[in-house]
Amino acid sequence: MIQELFEQVKSRVAPPRSATPQRRLDVPDNLLYRCPRCGGVVLMEDFEKNGRVCAECGYHARLAAPERIRMTVDPGSMQELDAGMKSCNPIGFEGYTRKLEQLQKATGLDDAIITGECTIKGQRCVIGVMDSRFMMASMGSVVGEKIARAFEYAVRRRLPVVLFTASGGARMQEGILSLMQMAKTSAAVALHNDAGLLYITVLTDPTTGGITASFASLGDIIIAEPKVLVGFAGRRVIEGTIREKLPEDFQTAEFLQEHGFVDMIVPRHDLRRTLGHLIKLHARPETDTAGITGEGEEHV
């Protein structure tokens, strides 16, 4: 039951909890950032400088995929894979095509993930970054295919994979095909795993539904950003079932770590360094030098 996740995710983050009256400052909205967790207001410039982390409460706000990539990979090292892959509304779901077009225009993305090969602190790897601006980064055929290809690409070149997850779950507009992407991506993880290669997941806000029930939970090392939402079922669905309020920390990164499902919680400003170290720690002599050449070139 990956139900009501979109709603749930929205409701979790949209309305600020702040019961305190909001002081109206005479500053245009785009110059201020109001934290959805603690209600604190800071100058947008300071917020951006802080890597979009709330200085008051440490909330790690969502990042657009291009911004995450810029923050994470070595400058100029990113070579995108499978750019231009788009959904074709495979089950003819009413209103979906229009929604896709609007979002493609608004975000500049083709769909909810960017994949590519890059270096992080000099370490070669395949990277994938989901973008919650695009239909809450739900997984349909495009997201599933790009992830599967990223793992297969990494197997051919004997590279580690780093995935930054964020998602409301499987994309209902592609029906059962979306559900099957969970099996497809898990299959690709298995292939990569059998090849003895490293897979690191970085759970970011929000990682929920079918994504936690597939590739997001299968990393050799699972990292989470502080305080992010991670869970299988929507909070509202659970509250409806048990008819009581859930504790505030339910389904946070800290909750998951306490229950044994997250290896480490790493603040954003430490992520690049941590990833670089972890990849280097797993490097084998033969993968240190440039990758295998001459093996079948990439699918176009």
Partner: protein, 270 residues
């Protein structure tokens, strides 16, 4: 026989309390079923049964999501909504099947994996994810049959297989029509409309390349003739197991990977 029914008609048929569950079919399909309990980690989940049995003299491992016919039964089996320990029991028994080269038969019939505090604390997502990955490389044939409700990730946790069949009124969906309607129109009562949009019927699932076969139900649904239904399922299982058992394991695994790998439709830049 059941042609012409809408997705909604079929949903009503499979929600009928009289509809047979895996518990009704198992004694009719198999010579003898030894139930095996527990995941060896936390507990035993009554929503998902596991055990060993014989079909046509061939030993098999059976995993089944089980619905009840009465409130009492449903309380015990949690309306066929497994907890993580259910999926972990299934994985334990699948590994056992691999060890003894027994084919695995999965009966899918669930509204979804259970949504609750304990399920989250014990890693519902992780449990299903682990099954998807391990089933993909399990070195023995896996056949799945959707008996009634194939509810999302909870169904898929038993749905990574070499061959899949749907009973002719069964459905398989990424989200419950009710959930879909409440997201789309903020109106769960429009589940009927959502059911038709999501392409969830057996014919849809075959057309989309996810299932290979439809097992015909008697007119009026499986509940009209349990014996006939059980014999139709038996016939399908015999054929599927016989066929898959002949394949070398390497080929079997490659077929399984390719089957799921090829699902999805998209366009690519020139």
């Amino acid at each position: 026989m059941s042609e012409g029914l809408s997705a909604w008609d079929r949903l009503l048929l499979i929600r009928d309390k009289a509809r047979p569950s895996a518990a009704d079919y198992i004694p009719l399909i198999f010579d003898r079923f030894y139930e095996l309990h527990g995941d060896r980690l936390f507990g035993d989940d009554h929503a998902l049964w596991g055990g060993i049995a014989k079909i046509d003299g061939i030993p098999v491992t059976v995993l089944a999501q089980v619905k009840g016919h009465t409130l009492e039964e449903n309380k015990r089996c949690n309306f066929a909504m497994p907890h993580p320990e259910g999926y972990r029991k299934a994985l334990r028994l699948m590994k056992q099947a691999e060890k003894f080269s027994r084919p695995v038969i999965c009966f899918i019939d669930t509204p979804g994996a259970f949504c609750g505090i304990g399920a989250e604390e014990r890693g519902q997502g992780e449990a299903i994810a682990r099954n998807l990955m391990e089933m993909m490389r399990l070195k023995t044939p896996i056949v799945s049959v959707v008996l009634g409700e194939g509810g999302s990730g909870g169904a898929l946790g038993l749905g990574v297989c070499d061959e899949m069949a749907m009973l002719s009124n069964a459905v398989y969906s990424v989200i419950s029509p009710r959930g879909c309607a409440s997201i789309l129109w903020k109106d769960p009562s429009r589940e009927r409309d959502a059911a038709e949009m999501l392409r969830i019927t057996a014919a849809d699932i075959v057309a989309l390349g996810i299932a290979e076969a439809i097992i015909e139900e008697p007119a009026g649904g499986a509940q009209k003739n349990l014996q006939l239904m059980a014999s139709n399922i038996t016939e399908y299982l015999r054929g599927a197991i016989l066929k898959l058992s002949k394949l070398p394991i390497e080929l079997l695994l490659q077929r399984r990977y390719d089957k799921f790998r090829s699902i999805g439709e998209f366009t690519e830049a020139e």
